[in-house]
């Protein structure tokens, strides 16, 4: 019995499980690894862009991370990133800063949830 993880959408995970992976591991493990590997850089891009007030760059990084999130079924995190992307593209600096503050923690929660999911057979 697999517990329902609020961070991840079950149907996406089920679909991933059906997919063949390149190296014997489960596809969930593969995408989880990619997420864990690439998300820190994107978070850093957001942070740095925000510091130099480059809001389009903040939006672009949010968009990229959103794509990763979608692939692992992290729908809530996706929603968060979408909001950030739109706010950034609208040039709303204070909105961006407020939203950005919550992103790293949420991202960490997804990584953790993925790790749990990967561990399951």
């Amino acid at each position: 019995m697999i517990l329902k993880d609020p961070e991840l959408d079950r149907s996406v995970l089920d679909a991933l499980r059906e997919l063949p992976s390149p190296d014997g591991r489960s596809m969930i493990a593969c995408v989880a690894e990619l997420f864990a590997q690439d998300s820190p850089a994107l978070l850093q891009q957001m942070q740095q862009a925000s510091e130099r007030e480059d809001w389009p760059a903040v939006g672009a990084a949010a968009h990229a991370l959103k794509s990763y999130a979608g692939n692992v079924g992290a729908l809530r995190f996706m929603e968060q990133l979408r909001e950030l992307e739109l706010t950034a593209k609208a040039g709303d600096s204070s909105g961006c800063i407020a939203l950005l503050a919550t992103v790293p923690e949420a991202c960490g929660a997804v990584v953790a949830a993925l790790a749990r999911e990967s561990a399951c057979p």
Partner: protein, 690 residues
């Protein structure tokens, strides 16, 4: 192997996304579904892969760092093979504006993120299949276009009135009309005026009869005559398919074939078969329009002699020149159809011209006479020149004949009349000519019969010395007593025999008869005096004449010295070289030679001097005028002096009274014959004088 089991080639998919997890997943699902997958992390890489890997389909994330999906899409479209490539953009569901921008950049389709991986495979297959269908359609279209271009046709979809609804231009017909120009509203605008006028009617006809109709027309295209065939095929819905084909080549081939069948190679004139077809339609058209047509039957005078004496090559040269003279004559006549002269060669030496007749039949006389005059100059024929005048008979449609054969027969009768009347003249047909021709025809048959049955007679007109009126010989003269018509004058039936071409048989018959008579007289112990025999001008210039005479003499064992051969000047001057050769042969064989009717013909004193003749006979027409007419006397004196100066003796013909005899004595003429002494006598009567 059924078609659907053929191994499908592996299809190549290019995916461009900056998201590594998307690349991983897409690669996994698409590879798992049998695709060969190429991955790119940004637009630049996508364009590179496009060139390197030649994918069948591209999946393109729109938002990528650097060259984004929009730009990559635009670039791919410009690459070779990129225009038709299916490009599926990957975009977020929350950004509908991006889809529109992607289509503007050339996207084929889109999928939204997050991607449903199972459905993605189906989507890729679906888009590929659609692209394949579109490609096949394009290929078919290209093949159809190629087919159309290869076809000599242009296709038009017309409405019932001939307005163009659609067009596919083929390679042949109407080039330059359809291609690169705005299509006119109606097909008629592309056709020459006559065809354009007929088109609406033909369209209506094709639609009402539901049968294809065809229209053929000619037009001048860049100075070249083009023949177009327009086929109209009715459709069920009231439209028509018009197929316009350039049939120029075919037409020209037909014309070449027609030329071979209907043209005379020698003169390049149409032949009798063509003339019959052409003249039939000319007469039909004239009949409908109430117009008249004159036909000119043109017969080359004495042409056969050119062929017989100078050879066929010379004859051919004369015919070619004759055709050219006729063409030249027609070039000055106003013609309706400029490309087609109303002229044909009917037979060896017969030509036909037909012309519209605007005034009375006499009006054509001037034209005919100008043609006659065109033949008066001598024909150059190798080293010599020959005379080839024409006898022209004119008959008019409809008065002289309603159909080609009647018209031709009557024009021919008129031309025969022209020949009989002395050649080199024009005779317009009159109704009585046919009866005369018929009469002539039966007379000709009678004459042939007379020759065959030995019922001609040779009479002898004694010839005397002027000095002492001693008998020196006789001239053999042919007599024909027709069983019904009585005596026929020699000039009439000789002309008949010449025209009918059996004068040589008559000459042979006379020669044989004379020799037999001499032989009989010799057997009877009579005094043997020379007999003069006329050789017809028509047949003299023939190598066989020498053999004919020597054979006749040998058969009857008649010494050649007893035969004097009389020829007219005209027989000699036609071909002086040959005449001189034949005369020399005859003289060397021992025959005596005389020139008959001297002074009436066309003679050259220079030639005469070089001919090996012994005697000149002064024509009776000069003697008849003497001694009252000064000119006649002067001519007689001149001829006698001329003859004597060349060492020739002189015979005066037709001497009828003593005053003429006195004149001849005074001028020292050598011999005479005529009614003053005797008419031509039956052989027995003459024999009694010997």
């Amino acid at each position: 192997m059924p078609l659907n089991l053929l191994p499908q080639p592996v299809r190549r998919v290019l995916l461009a996304d900056d998201d590594a997890s998307t690349r991983l997943l897409a690669n996994s699902v698409l590879s798992g579904a049998g695709f060969e997958v190429f991955l790119a992390a940004n637009g630049d890489e996508a364009v590179d892969s496009m060139l390197r890997d030649r994918p069948h389909i591209v999946l393109l994330d729109l938002e990528m760092p650097g060259v984004d999906g929009y730009e990559a899409c635009r670039r791919i479209r410009r690459l070779p093979g990129g225009a038709e490539l299916p490009i599926v953009v990957v975009t977020s569901l929350d950004d509908p504006g991006s889809i529109e921008r992607a289509y503007a950049a050339g996207a084929t389709d889109f999928v939204t993120k997050p991607i449903n991986w199972v459905l993605l495979v189906h989507r890729v297959r679906y888009v590929l299949r659609a692209a394949d269908s579109a490609g096949a359609l394009r290929a078919a279209e290209a093949r159809n276009q190629a087919l159309l271009r290869a076809m000599p046709d242009s296709l038009f979809l017309l409405d019932g009135t001939g307005r163009i609804q659609a067009c596919a231009a083929g390679g042949g017909a109407l080039p330059g009309d359809v291609a690169g120009r705005e299509l006119p509203a109606t097909l008629a605008a592309l056709l020459p005026p006559e065809a354009a006028l007929a088109l609406p009617t033909l369209c209506a006809q094709a639609l009402s009869t539901r049968l294809a109709t065809t229209l053929e027309c000619q037009r001048l295209q860049h100075g070249v005559t083009q023949v177009l065939e327009v086929r109209l095929l009715p459709n069920e819905d009231g439209t028509l398919l018009a197929i316009v084909r350039d049939v120029s080549e075919q037409k020209f081939a037909e014309q070449r074939i027609r030329r071979l069948a209907y043209y005379d190679n020698l003169t390049d004139l149409p032949n009798r078969e063509w003339m019959e077809l052409r003249l039939t339609s000319v007469l039909m058209a004239a009949g409908k329009a109430g117009r008249r047509v004159a036909v000119l039957y043109i017969d080359l005078d004495l042409f056969r002699r050119v062929n017989d004496t100078l050879g066929q090559l010379s004859g051919d040269a004369v015919l070619i020149e004759a055709a050219d003279r006729l063409r030249h004559c027609l070039s000055s006549v106003q013609l309706e159809a400029a490309d087609e002269l109303p002229l044909a060669r009917l037979g060896a030496d017969e030509f036909l011209i037909w012309l519209p007749l605007t005034d009375g039949p006499e009006s054509i006389g001037a034209t005919a006479d100008s043609i006659r005059q065109a033949f008066e100059p001598l024909f150059p024929c190798g080293p010599v020149e020959v005379k080839a005048t024409v006898s022209i008979g004119v008959a008019c449609y409809p008065a002289d004949g309603q159909d080609v054969s009647t018209l031709l027969r009557n024009a021919d009768a008129a031309s025969q009349q022209a020949k009989t009347a002395g050649r080199n003249r024009v005779v317009v047909y009159r109704a009585e000519m046919n009866s005369r021709a018929l009469e002539r025809l039966s007379l000709e048959a009678d004459l042939r019969r007379a020759v065959a049955s030995n019922s001609l007679e040779v009479h002898y007109q004694p010839k005397y010395r002027v000095d002492d009126l001693g008998l020196v010989g006789a001239e053999a003269l042919l007599r024909w007593k027709h069983p019904r018509l009585g005596f026929i004058p020699p000039n009439e039936f000789i002309a008949l025999a010449e025209a009918a071409g059996f004068i040589v048989e008559i000459d042979r018959w006379v020669m044989k008869r004379v020799c037999e008579d001499i032989s009989v007289w010799r057997a009877a112990g009579k005094r043997l005096l020379p007999v003069a025999v006329n050789l017809s001008a028509h047949e003299f210039l023939n190598q066989s004449v020498v053999a004919m005479i020597t054979d006749a003499a040998a058969q009857a064992e008649v010494p050649h010295g007893l035969l004097e051969l009389e020829l007219t000047e005209n027989a000699l001057v036609h071909d002086a070289t040959l005449a001189r050769e034949l005369l020399t042969q005859l003289r060397d064989a021992g025959f005596t030679l005389a020139i008959d009717d001297f002074g009436t013909g066309y003679s050259s004193l220079q030639y005469l001097r070089s001919f090996p003749v012994h005697t000149l006979k002064i024509d009776r027409s000069f003697v008849r005028g003497a001694p009252d007419e000064r000119e006649a006397c002067a001519l007689i004196r001149a001829v006698i002096q001329f003859a004597h100066s060349l060492g020739l003796s002189v015979v005066a013909e037709g001497v009828e009274n003593y005053r003429q005899l006195d004149l001849l004595r005074a001028e020292r003429c050598d011999y005479l014959q005529g009614y003053l002494m005797d008419p031509a006598l039956p052989a027995a009567t003459y024999a009694a004088m010997l």
